[in-house]
């Protein structure tokens, strides 16, 4: 899974800490999300998409095997 979190975060000039605070998670969770190493819950994905003013399917890109 790839994410566009880093790209969109940069667009809105948000640090990992800012985004983490907005969605109520720890900064490391955002870090692992950006690296594609953590699969978030639907709620967290929704909250991040909302914070970055985008849609979930535009934020997370699933690659077919």
């Amino acid at each position: 899974m790839k994410t566009r979190i880093k790209e969109l975060r940069a667009r809105y000039d948000l640090t990992q800490e800012d985004l983490a605070k907005k969605v109520g998670v720890r900064r490391e969770t955002i870090l692992f999300l950006e690296k594609g190493k953590y699969n978030p819950s639907l709620k967290l994905a929704h909250d991040i998409a909302k914070a970055l003013k985008t849609k979930i399917d535009e934020l997370f890109i699933f690659e077919e095997d």
């Binding site: 800490e17 983490a20 605070k21 109520g24 998670v25 720890r26 900064r27 490391e28 969770t29 692992f32 690296k35 190493k37 953590y38 699969n39 978030p40 819950s41 967290l44």
Partner: protein
């Protein structure tokens, strides 16, 4: 500082102040109970202040846990429980075969130490991972 940490620090400081006050105003009375209460309050004060200030230094304004850390903590407890169960089984067999005889206190102490160590080690390892299944 988060409200919760302020409460911890406040309670700790209050306990500490009461202990100091007891020491000053009751210093003439040489009772064992005053000494015990003062020691108890001083310990409580130090523990609470350490919890409040320590947690503030570690977490600052960040949440202490989120969905990722909750998953890790659940798995940590499960690993720790499994390791402890295996240890208790091994101790039981060793005792049954007369290989190792331990007192109840020794067995309980060892079990607690292994349980805590297993939890700490697995938490450290799992926190390095992004996700746990």
């Amino acid at each position: 500082m988060k409200k919760e940490y302020k409460y911890y620090t406040g309670i700790g400081a209050a306990a500490f102040l009461v202990a100091i006050a007891l020491q000053i105003f009751w210093s003439g009375i040489d009772t064992i109970w005053v000494s015990r209460i003062t020691s108890f309050l001083t310990t409580v004060g130090i523990v609470f202040i350490a919890l409040g200030v320590g947690r503030h230094m570690i977490y600052k304004e960040e949440p202490e846990e989120d969905e990722r850390t909750k998953k890790i903590n659940a798995l940590t407890l499960s690993y720790s429980w499994t390791v402890t169960l295996v240890l208790v089984g091994v101790l039981l067999l060793l005792d049954h075969w007369n290989i190792l005889k331990m007192t109840v206190m020794q067995a309980l102490g060892l079990t607690m130490a292994v349980m805590i160590a297993a939890a700490v080690i697995s938490e450290l390892c799992l926190k390095r991972k992004g996700d746990v299944k």
